[in-house]
Symmetry: D4
Amino acid sequence: MEERVLVGVVMGSEKDLKVMKECGQVLERLGVPHETSIASTHRTPERVAEYARSAQERGLQVIIAGAGKAAHLAGTIASHTLLPVIGVPLTGSPLNGLDALLSTVQMPGGIPVATVDIDGARNAAVLAAEILALSHPDVRERLQAYRRELGRTVGGNGGTPR
Amino acid sequence: MEERVLVGVVMGSEKDLKVMKECGQVLERLGVPHETSIASTHRTPERVAEYARSAQERGLQVIIAGAGKAAHLAGTIASHTLLPVIGVPLTGSPLNGLDALLSTVQMPGGIPVATVDIDGARNAAVLAAEILALSHPDVRERLQAYRRELGRTVGGNGGTPR
Amino acid sequence: MEERVLVGVVMGSEKDLKVMKECGQVLERLGVPHETSIASTHRTPERVAEYARSAQERGLQVIIAGAGKAAHLAGTIASHTLLPVIGVPLTGSPLNGLDALLSTVQMPGGIPVATVDIDGARNAAVLAAEILALSHPDVRERLQAYRRELGRTVGGNGGTPR
Amino acid sequence: MEERVLVGVVMGSEKDLKVMKECGQVLERLGVPHETSIASTHRTPERVAEYARSAQERGLQVIIAGAGKAAHLAGTIASHTLLPVIGVPLTGSPLNGLDALLSTVQMPGGIPVATVDIDGARNAAVLAAEILALSHPDVRERLQAYRRELGRTVGGNGGTPR
Amino acid sequence: MEERVLVGVVMGSEKDLKVMKECGQVLERLGVPHETSIASTHRTPERVAEYARSAQERGLQVIIAGAGKAAHLAGTIASHTLLPVIGVPLTGSPLNGLDALLSTVQMPGGIPVATVDIDGARNAAVLAAEILALSHPDVRERLQAYRRELGRTVGGNGGTPR
Amino acid sequence: MEERVLVGVVMGSEKDLKVMKECGQVLERLGVPHETSIASTHRTPERVAEYARSAQERGLQVIIAGAGKAAHLAGTIASHTLLPVIGVPLTGSPLNGLDALLSTVQMPGGIPVATVDIDGARNAAVLAAEILALSHPDVRERLQAYRRELGRTVGGNGGTPR
Amino acid sequence: MEERVLVGVVMGSEKDLKVMKECGQVLERLGVPHETSIASTHRTPERVAEYARSAQERGLQVIIAGAGKAAHLAGTIASHTLLPVIGVPLTGSPLNGLDALLSTVQMPGGIPVATVDIDGARNAAVLAAEILALSHPDVRERLQAYRRELGRTVGGNGGTPR
Amino acid sequence: MEERVLVGVVMGSEKDLKVMKECGQVLERLGVPHETSIASTHRTPERVAEYARSAQERGLQVIIAGAGKAAHLAGTIASHTLLPVIGVPLTGSPLNGLDALLSTVQMPGGIPVATVDIDGARNAAVLAAEILALSHPDVRERLQAYRRELGRTVGGNGGTPR
C-alpha cells in the first residue's frame, strides 16, 4: 500500500489505551496514517530510545506520547529525535494528572515537548494534523471540515432567548 | 527579498519581551524568518483575531504566543486559525505562572495549543523549528547542529570521577 | 411583550447546562428577564465576539459566562463589551475546576471578570440581580425576600443546646 | 458639593493601601466619586458590619473590599448588604495570595462576592465603573475612553515584522 | 440539671452535621457537656455575632466551628470572643477542603483560630477536651482512658514477624 | 520567684527563633510566664519525647511548637502529652510553608494539633493566652486590652470619605 | 529456620494494609524475608521508637513505613535508627496523598527518608530489594528476573503499525 | 589506589552544582569514595544510559541524581540499572521545585526512585551512606558520629526556661 505512516502514537502501558485510543479515532477521521505502540520509558528504555531514534527514517513526521504519573515518555522520545513530539499527560494517579502535566511540560531548554491538556488525546491528534497540514493539503481540507463541524456541534444559537 | 516570514511571535504586552525575545534569538540562530508583534487578547481582541485569521495567507506556518496570568492569547489565536499554535505561559503574577500554564494548556477538545514550559520562549522557538524542519531541510540541519551543541555544553564527562 | 431581556447567560457547551441551568432558575425566581445561549470561545469565536459586541445595544445589562478547563469565555466576552461580565468557573476537568478558576479570575489589568465560586451558577445569578437592583427596585425587593429566606433555611436556632 | 459618594473602598489594614490605592486612582480617572476606609473583619467586626449595613442608605452603590490571607472582609460585607461587593484578594502571606483568592471567591450559595485577580485593585475599580455605567452615562463614556486607551497602550502593531 | 454546657459546636448548614456530629459523639464520650447549633456567617451574620458575643457569659469555654468553601465561620466567631475557637475545615467543594483549610487557618495576626485537619470533627472534640482538662480533672481522666484505648486499637504488635 | 512557667515554646532549630521569638514577645506582654527551648523531632527525638512527657508535671499548661518542612514537632509532642499543643508551620523551604502547614494540621484522628497560620507565632501566643484565660482572670484582662488595642491600631475611621 | 528477617514493613493502622500488603507480595516474590507491623507514630509513639531503636540489632536492614495525612511514621523511625528508611505516602485524606507526600519527603537535613510514589507500596518493596541486592546476590538475581518480566508485560511491540 | 568509588553523583547541568556539591561534602566527611558527573537526560541521553548501564560493573553501589523542572534524570538512570537510585528534586523553575518533586517521586510501579527533599543534596548523601553502612562498618561508625553531632548542633537545652 502507498500510504506511509506519518504519526506514531506511543503510550506507556496497555491501560493507557482507554484514553489514548481517541488519538487513533481522530487521526483516522482526519485521514492521517498512523501507528500505535506500547513502550515504557522506565520498563523498556531501550525500546523507547530505539523507537525514537528510528522514527524519522521510518518516515514518521510527528510522535504523540501519552503517559501518567512522572510522565517521562514524551521527554525521553524528544531527547532522541528532532521530530516534533506531542505529550499527553494522563490521569490515573492520586494527583489526578497534575504530576503528569508538570513532568511532561516543564522540559529543560532546548528539548521541547508540545504538551496538550490532561487526557487530551483528541487535541494531540488535532495538533499532529495541524502540523502535517502544512505540507499535506488533503489533511488541511479534512481539518477545515472538522473544525466547521466542531462549531456546529456547539449547537445553541447565540443570542436567542431561551 | 526572497525570505518569507514563517513564524509569528505574538505577546500580550511590551514587558513580555523580556522573556519572549529569546524566541527571536533562537529562531535567528536556526535561520527561521520570523516577525514579532504585540497584541493583547483582552485589550485588542480584534487585532488578535485579525492577526490569526490572516496568518496563513500571509505565509506564516507556525504561531508562537506568550502570555501571563489568565493567558488566553494562544488559545484565542488557535480558535481563529488551523496553523499550529505554540503557547508560552509566562510568569509575572503572584501565582508565578501556574495560572498561565493552566490557562494555556487546558484547552477544550478540538482546539489544541502546543504548550511549552513556563517562560519557555527558547523551547517554543525550537519546537517551531522542529515543525518547519519537516519541510525545510536547511532548518533541520541547523537544528541538528544546535542539538549537538546542546549536548556539548552540558559539559562534564560522564562517569569520570571528580 | 414588554419584558426586555436584561441578563445573558452564555456557556461553552450543552453539557454545561447541568450546572448553569441554576442561573436561570434563580433569575426566574428573582424576576429577572434573561436568555441562555451556547457559544464556545474556541469553537465559535466569531459568534462569541458578535454576541458580546451586540449585547449592550440588544439591551442586556449583565452577562454571565460559564466555562471549564482553560475557561476563556468570560474573559473573551469582557474584551468585547463594557457591560459587567460575571464568570462561573466550571468543574469537569481532572483538575476539578482549579484550572477554570485561575483562567477566569486572573484577568490582566483593565478587563475585569467578576468571578464567583467554582460551579457557582447560583451566586452568579444573585450577583447579576444585585447589580440590576441598583436601578430596578422590584428586583431589590425580591432579592431582600430571597436573602431573608436564605437566613431562615439555615434552620437551627443559634445557641440552643442540642 | 453635589457629588454623592458611589463606591466604598475598604481594606483590612493600612499596609494594604500599597496595592489598594490603585482603586482610588482608577476611580478618580473614571470620574467615580468614592471613599476609602480601613476596617478589619477580625479586629473591628462591629465597624465592618455597621459599614456594610449602612452602605446603601448612605448612597453607596458598590463596595470594593481588599484583604489578604484568610480574606473574609468582602464576604463579611456581602453578608450585611445587598449591594454588589467586589473582592480583591491580596498577596502578603507566604502562600502569595492563593489563600486570599480561595477565601474570597469560594462563597457559599446565595452570598456572592465578585472576585477579581490577586492584587487586582485596578480591575476592581474598572468593574465598579462598569456596574455604575449601567445608570451613569458619563461613567460609560469615560470607560470607553479608558478602554480605547488600553488598546493603544498595548503598543506594537499587529502583524508587522520586527 | 446542674451540668453547664462548656463547648458550643456550630456549623454553617444542616448538611455539615454528617461530619460534625462526630464532635458530639466524642464530647459525649469524654463527658463534656455541649450544645450544637446551626448558624451561617454569611446567611445569618447577626446570629453568629450574637452567638459569639454571648458565649462567654452563657458559660461556654470553647467553641468549635465547622465550615466549608470560603470557611469564615470560625474566624468570624473568633473576632467576637476571647474564648478559644477551634476551626474544622470541611470538604464539600470541588477543591476538596483545601479552600476551607486556608480560609480557616490563615487568620491575621491577633485573632487565632485553632485549626484541625480537614473534616477533623473528632480532633476538634479531643482538642476541646484537652483545653477543658486543664481545669476539669474528670475530663483529663476520661481523656487518658481515651488515649490509652487509641493506642490499643492500633492493634498490631510491633516488631512481630507476620 | 513564685511565677510558674505555663507555656513552653519549642522549635526545631536556632534559626526558627527569627519567627518564633514573636511568641515570647506576645506572651510577655500578656503576662504569661513561659520558657523557650530548641529540640528537633528528628535530630533529638528522645529530648522531644522527654520534654513532652514531663511537661504536665513540670506545670506547663500549653505547648507551642514551631517547625518547617515536614514539620513533625507539634505532632510528636502531642503524641506524648494530653496538654493542648499549638503548631506553628514555618516557612523556610522552597514550598514556602505549604509543606509545614499540611504536616502540622493533617493529624490523624485522636491526636489533634491546634494549628495556626504559617509563620503565625503571634497567633500561637494569643491562642495560648486564650486557653489560659479560662482559669487565669488576669490573663483574660490583659487579652481584652490587647484585643481593644488591635482594633484601634487598624486605624482608619470606617465610612469616612477619603 | 535460618531465614533472618531483613525488611520491616510498618504502617500506622490496620486499614493501610489495603495498599501496604503489596509490599509483602513483592518482597515474597523477590525472596526477601520480611515482617509486617502496625504501629502509629501518634497513637503508640513508644512502640514506634522502640521498634526503630531495636531494628538494627534484631537484624533488620531496611524499614518500609507507610502512612497517610500528616505522615510522620517514616520520619520518626528514621530519627531513631541509621538503617535506610523508605517512606510510602498513602492516600486516604481529602487531599489525596499530597499531604502525606510532603510530610514524608520534606525531611530536615541529616535525617533522610527515601520516599516513593503515593500509594507506592510496590516500589518501596523493589527499592528495599535493590538495597539488599548489594550484598545478597540471590536477591539481585530475582530482581533481574523481575525487571525483565516488567519489560515483557509492557506488552506492545514498539514501532509496529496498529 | 585501593579506594573504589562507591557512589556516583550525577546532575543535569553545571549550575546544579551550587546545590549538589553538598553531596560531595557530606560523602567526603562520611568517608565514602564518590565521583561527580554532569549528564543530561534530555541533552545527552546516550551518555546517561551508558553511565547507568555501566555503573554496577564499574563498582558503584548507589547513584544520586539531581535535576530540576521535569526532572527525569533519576528515573531514567533507574530504568537502566538495578542499583538503588536516589533522586534530588532541584529548585530553579518558577514552580520552585514542585515540578521536580513530582517528576522524581511519582515513578511507575517497578522502577523506584528513592526521593529526598527538594534541594536535599545533604539528605541524599546521608541516605547513600546509610545504604552503604549495611556492608561497610566504617561508614556506619562515621554515620553514628555524624548523627550524634547533628543532635548536638540542635543546641538549645530542652525544657530550660529562657
